[in-house]
C-alpha cells in the first residue's frame, strides 16, 4: 500500500501587517454559550491575516506511511478516536525498495479522526486521509 505521483507540500507564513476581509454568517441557532451569540443570524465582515503559502512540488514520488499512532481524545462525555500519521516521501518506488531509510522527507499528519463506520482498518484509513489532504490530489494508490 502506497501512493505514487506528483506531490505538493505547502507551508504557510503569516504576512505581517496584511489582512484579508472575509464574510462570516452566523447561524440562527447558536447556543447562548457561543461567543458570537449576539451575532446569530447575522453576516459580519471579519479581518483575518494573510497567509503566504510556500509550495514545493515533487515529481513522481513514492509515499509510504511509516507509522500511525492511535489515541483517544476525551471531551466531556464524548470520546474520539484519533491518529497521527507519519509518512515518508521517496524519490521513486525503486528508491524505497532499495533502501527504505533513504527517503527525501518525513512528514506528519496529526489528530486525524478515525471513522470506524467506514469499515477500513487503521492503515487503510490513514492512506485515505492522506489522499484527501491538500497536495495529494495527483497521487494514486499503488
Amino acid at each position: 500500500m502506497a501512493l505514487q505521483g506528483n506531490w505538493t507540500y505547502t507551508t504557510q507564513e503569516i504576512e505581517e501587517g496584511n489582512f484579508n476581509t472575509i464574510s462570516v454568517t452566523y447561524p440562527e441557532d447558536l447556543s447562548e454559550n457561543d461567543p458570537n451569540y449576539n451575532f446569530r443570524g447575522q453576516t459580519k465582515d471579519v479581518e483575518v491575516p494573510v497567509y503566504k503559502e510556500i509550495t514545493e512540488t515533487y515529481t513522481n514520488v513514492y509515499i509510504n506511511i511509516q507509522s500511525i499512532h492511535y489515541w483517544k481524545s476525551f471531551q466531556g462525555q464524548e470520546k474520539f478516536d484519533l491518529m497521527n500519521i507519519t509518512y515518508r516521501v521517496f524519490a521513486s518506488k525503486e528508491s524505497y525498495l532499495s533502501n527504505p531509510n533513504e527517503y527525501l522527507l518525513e512528514k506528519l499528519s496529526v489528530a486525524q479522526h478515525i471513522d470506524f463506520s467506514k469499515k477500513l482498518n487503521h492503515m487503510e484509513q490513514a492512506y485515505e486521509i492522506l489522499k484527501n489532504t491538500i497536495g495529494f490530489q495527483d497521487l494514486t494508490s499503488v
Binding site: P27, Q75, L82, L108, A111, T133
Partner: protein, 310 residues
C-alpha cells in the same frame, strides 16, 4: 391570441405564442413560479449548467487553538461561481455552524481558523454556489490539542532566547537559518519532549550553543505529574534526521556538556551521528558544539538537545 386546446402543440408554436404576448408570458411564467423570465429556457426550467463540483480536504495545520480548512471547486459545471467557502464549527449539523466565504472561483482554497478551543472536535464542509445551486463537500473532522503549558523549565539557544511556552505540539515554534525549537505536547500522545535544535547551513567551523536553564526541571516534577524520569542527552542527528536534512557523513565533531559544577564532560562522535546520554548533568549548564565538517559540502548539521520524562 389563444393557445390550442387540443391536438399536438409544437415547441415553436408555444415559443411564438409566449414571445408574442407579454400578458400571456407574465401569466404563464407566474404560474410556473418565475417572476420575470428572461429566456424561454428559463420558463421551461431548463438550464445548461449544473451546481459546482466541490470537495473538502482533510484538516491540516492542526494546533492547540488553530486549524486549517481546505477545499476545492473542481468545476463550475457551466455557470460562474458566485460564492464559495466553508461551514466550520463544532456542530455535526452543517447549517448550525458559521459560514465563512472565501474569495475566488474554481480551484483550491483554504481558511485558517485561529482562537479555537483546545481539545475540541471541529467539523468543516466546503461549499460553492453557482446559478444552478449550491454543492456541499463531505464533512471532515479533526480535534485540536489539549493545551499543555510547560512551566517548569526553560531551554534556549544562544541565538533565540526562550523558545517555548505557546508552541503547539510538536510543531516548529521558531525557525530561522540557524535554529528551530519546539516541544511535543503530551496530549498528542506519547511523552513530553522539549527540543532545541541549532544548526547551520555551513559545513565547517560551526559553533552553536544550546543553553539549559533547567533548575526546576532537574529539581522536581512538572506540575501535575507524579514522577519524572529525566534524561538529558544530546543527540547529533545526521544520517537519521527525521526532517530529511541528511546526506553525506560527519568527519569530525565534538560536544561539550557543561554542568553547573563547572567541570566539562567531553564527548566525541564520529561517523554518521549518534546519541550521548548524560544523566548526571547538574542544574544549569550549556552545551557547545563546534567544528563540524561534512563530506558532502551541503548538509546542515544539527545538534538536538532534549530532555523528556516518561
Amino acid at each position: 391570441m389563444a393557445l390550442q386546446s387540443s391536438g399536438a402543440i409544437s415547441f415553436s408554436q408555444i415559443k411564438t405564442e409566449l414571445t408574442s404576448s407579454s400578458n400571456s408570458l407574465r401569466a404563464l411564467s407566474a404560474a410556473a413560479g418565475f417572476s420575470s423570465p428572461d429566456a424561454v429556457s428559463e420558463f421551461y426550467g431548463y438550464t445548461s449548467s449544473l451546481p459546482p463540483t466541490v470537495v473538502t480536504f482533510a484538516f491540516d495545520q492542526i494546533g492547540e487553538t488553530s486549524i486549517r480548512c481546505g477545499g476545492a471547486v473542481n468545476s463550475d459545471n457551466g455557470a460562474a461561481i458566485t460564492e464559495r467557502g466553508f461551514y466550520f464549527g463544532t456542530s455535526t449539523n452543517r447549517a448550525s455552524n458559521p459560514k465563512y466565504t472565501v474569495s475566488g472561483t474554481v480551484g483550491y482554497y483554504t481558511l485558517n481558523r485561529t482562537g479555537l478551543s483546545p481539545n475540541t472536535t471541529y467539523r468543516c464542509w466546503a461549499y460553492a454556489t453557482n446559478a444552478s445551486g449550491t454543492t456541499y463537500g463531505s464533512m471532515v473532522t479533526a480535534t485540536t490539542y489539549q493545551v499543555y503549558n510547560p512551566s517548569w523549565a526553560s531551554m534556549y539557544t544562544s541565538a533565540q532566547g526562550v523558545f517555548y511556552g505557546e508552541s503547539p505540539n510538536g510543531e516548529v515554534q521558531t525557525h530561522s537559518a540557524s535554529y528551530e525549537a519546539f516541544y511535543r505536547n503530551p496530549y498528542s500522545g506519547g511523552y513530553v519532549q522539549y527540543y532545541a535544535r541549532s544548526y547551520n547551513q555551513s559545513t565547517t567551523g560551526i559553533y552553536q550553543q544550546l543553553y539549559f536553564n533547567g533548575g526546576s526541571r532537574f529539581a522536581g516534577s512538572p506540575a501535575g505529574t507524579a514522577a519524572v524520569n529525566t534524561r538529558n542527552f544530546v543527540r547529533l542527528l545526521y544520517n537519521a534526521d527525521p526532517y530529511g536534512l541528511k546526506g553525506g557523513s560527519v568527519s569530525y565533531n565534538y560536544i561539550f556538556m557543561n554542568p553547573a559544577s563547572g567541570s566539562f564532560s567531553n564527548f566525541s562522535i564520529s561517523g554518521n551521528g549518534g546519541n550521548i546520554n548524560d544523566s548526571s548533568t547538574g542544574t544549569t549548564g550549556y552545551l557547545s558544539v563546534y567544528n563540524f565538517n561534512t563530506s558532502d559540502g551541503r548538509t546542515p548539521l544539527q545538534l538536538d538537545s532534549y530532555f523528556d520524562y516518561a
